[in-house]
């Protein structure tokens, strides 16, 4: 006699205990500290902060530890925490022109005011496994001159696009009203067509892999937009708020960000003369790959505004923005693990009926 399955509650508790033990791994191996994750897995922390939409290195490190290094799970943890935080106010727009730059490159000009600053980058490293690291000797001599901490440029560096702007070669971007309300898709559901601000917010939170693939697709002809990496800069900017009772800006934080300004060819339209157009990417932390891909996708999504005929998924705002979020997509894909006995039973009844009506022989 069949007895209905019971014990979901005990099973869940046991699963949680197993998970905790697997997370810790072999207890003879020293436990990771949050400081170690923050310092030595810094780019993982950056990605979790960027897609988790919360600038807090310690909490991001905690999420990475808790998620056993599953970054999408870590992003989810951070998001679920973020959603409970009160919104105390809105910062002033961040001025990336005043960034303390640690890295700044332009692919459009050989040299430019402030110069090219290579900074700490994987570019031009030979991807050879460094077996010295495996031995625990990381090879960095802290006394060596060139191995010191990266030095930020002393002076603010002009942005490449601003240099083009002066000549009228690139579309002008209206400065916008600082007092105008800023869309926030975590408070208001997205509606289509979305404002560019909300679109950029969506892309900044979007899964890096998804945006990377879409950006790549634009390069291969699906919504091609002839990009040049006008400028990529990585460094520190200050965040300011204006407290109501003071009425003047107060710096509340310094954050690391990556900004990418793509410069894209544009042949002109009936309304606009030929000029360069812009694609924009911005992320928390050092996330160059993401910022560049984001700029490509941003430009692709601007097709309607620029009078281009959308022909690819990369130019389809609803397609891109509805499927970019890893927390949403990961949840919905994995919800297929939940029981579907009832729907499946309904389908079984139907398929048996249809087969009987079609004269199918059982078992064939």
């Amino acid at each position: 006699m069949y007895v209905a399955v019971k014990g979901g509650e005990r099973a869940i508790e046991a699963a949680h205990r197993l998970l905790a033990s697997e997370r810790r791994g072999d207890p003879r191996v020293p436990e990771l500290s949050l400081a170690q994750i923050d310092q030595q897995l810094a780019l993982a922390v950056d990605r979790v902060m960027a897609e988790g939409s919360l600038y807090d290195r310690e909490l991001a490190a905690l999420a990475i530890k808790q998620s056993r290094g599953d970054l999408i799970e870590a992003i989810f943890l951070l998001r679920a925490f973020r959603t409970t935080l009160p919104r105390l106010g809105m910062s002033q727009p961040v001025d990336t022109g005043c960034m303390l730059v640690r890295r700044r490159i332009s692919a459009t000009f050989k040299d430019l005011p402030g110069g090219q600053i290579l900074g700490p980058t994987f570019d031009y490293t030979h991807r050879l496994l460094d077996f010295d690291l495996a031995r625990g000797a990381d090879g960095v001599d802290p006394t060596a001159e060139e191995a010191g901490p990266p030095v930020a440029a002393a002076e603010p560096l002009p942005r490449v696009v601003d240099l083009l702007d002066r000549e009228g070669l690139i579309e002008t971007e209206a400065a916008g009203d600082d007092g105008a309300p800023v869309g926030d898709l975590t408070r208001e559901p997205i509606a289509f067509p979305a404002s560019r601000g909300v679109r950029l917010q969506n892309l900044a939170r979007a899964d890096e892999g998804f945006i990377l693939a879409l950006g790549y697709a634009t390069q291969r002809g699906y919504g091609r937009n002839h990009p040049f990496a006008g400028e990529i800069r990585v460094g520190e900017v200050s965040v300011e708020v204006i407290p109501e009772e003071l009425g003047f800006p107060v710096e509340i934080a310094e954050i690391s960000i990556t900004e990418c300004q793509m410069v894209n060819q544009f042949r002109g339209s009936a309304e606009a003369p030929p000029q360069f157009t812009r694609g924009y990417g911005l992320c928390f932390g050092n996330s160059e790959r993401k910022a560049m891909a984001m700029a490509l996708v941003d430009r692709a999504l601007r097709c309607r505004e620029l009078g281009e005929e959308p022909a690819s998924a990369t130019q389809d705002e609803e397609f891109v923005l509805s499927h970019s979020d890893s927390v949403e997509s990961s949840g919905f894909v994995q919800h297929l693990k939940l029981p579907h006995y009832v729907d499946f039973q309904a389908e079984l009844v139907l398929v048996r009926d249809l087969r009987a009506a079609a004269g199918a022989v059982p078992g064939r």
Partner: protein, 281 residues
């Protein structure tokens, strides 16, 4: 859980959701966009239902949570524990004892009563979604009451299969106006939607939509005069309680084709059995 507010969500968020609920009740079957929050459980696992429940639950409520009709499936257990931890309210598996029921994929067999609230978790709220993927387009179709494509789809089933081959999330017209996807309940449960004395609330967290069927509202499953709507029937009874009018789950008992059918609604089934024992059956 002292770090969190009663029922997890802060009061401002609850108010925002309740305003959306009021709008949903005022326009039966209409999908109201709402500022769905990121919840501490995965999208697709009931975040919409949880937010709706969290915004209407009070300390005096008695909560029942079911998934596929059962109180003890793992996700039902998980959501029930979430509310036990965050609200401390009394929980029950008895449909007739609960003031608030959160469910996935089923409406309980025991008829609901006036004053009860049933919250259904919804993965895809848009009934036209498989016919038109674009939200901007489907919203216009609803505004214009342009539902011909759905009738055509059902008609195509009839020409191909001789019947409508839609077994769950079977489309309905609410209050003679809005086409609604009744969450993925089996069409077996569709008749329970019609003029139900309880308040039926639908929450889709990932898709950020809320909709409602207020008490005693007409809910008509789409059909044709010569092909009236019908629900599935089993030619067996529940192996545990003998019910013949309930939705049955099929359980495979061995690898030789052995199977039994049991009620999907575990509370309904166990209640029948306990009465049967009392009667000495």
């Amino acid at each position: 859980m002292s770090h969190y507010n009663f029922a997890y969500l802060d009061e401002q968020t609850k108010r925002m959701i309740r305003r959306s609920l009021l709008k949903a009740v005022a326009i039966p079957g209409y999908q109201v966009p709402f500022g769905s929050r990121e919840m501490p459980l995965s999208y697709g696992w009931g975040t919409g239902g949880v937010q709706v429940t969290a915004s209407v639950i009070g300390p005096g409520d008695v909560l029942k949570v079911i998934d596929q009709g059962a109180d003890d499936t793992t996700n039902a257990v998980s959501i029930r524990r979430f509310f036990e931890r965050t609200t401390g309210v009394r929980t029950t598996s008895r449909t007739d004892e609960a003031t608030l029921i959160q469910s996935r994929h089923r409406i309980p067999e025991t008829p609901l009563a006036a004053g009860q609230i049933l919250v259904l978790q919804v993965p895809i709220p848009e009934p036209l979604r498989w016919l038109e993927p674009r939200e901007a387009e489907t919203r216009t179709m609803h505004a214009l009451e342009e539902y011909g494509v759905m009738h055509v789809r059902l008609y195509e089933d009839i020409t191909r299969h001789g019947k409508v081959a839609q077994t769950y999330e079977y489309p309905v017209i609410v209050n003679g106006r809005y086409l609604m996807r009744p969450s993925p309940i089996p069409k077996f449960d569709n008749p329970k939607l019609d003029r139900n004395p309880a308040l039926l609330l639908f929450g889709a967290g990932r898709e950020k939509r809320i909709y409602a069927v207020p008490p005693h509202t007409s809910v008509r499953s789409l059909d044709f005069e010569d092909h009236p709507f019908e629900i599935e029937r089993w030619d067996r009874a529940c192996a545990l309680c003998g019910a013949t009018e309930a939705f049955l789950d099929e359980i495979i008992t061995d690898d030789k084709g052995g199977r039994v059918f049991v009620c999907s609604d575990t509370d309904f089934c166990s209640h029948r059995r306990s009465r049967g024992v009392e009667r000495g059956v």
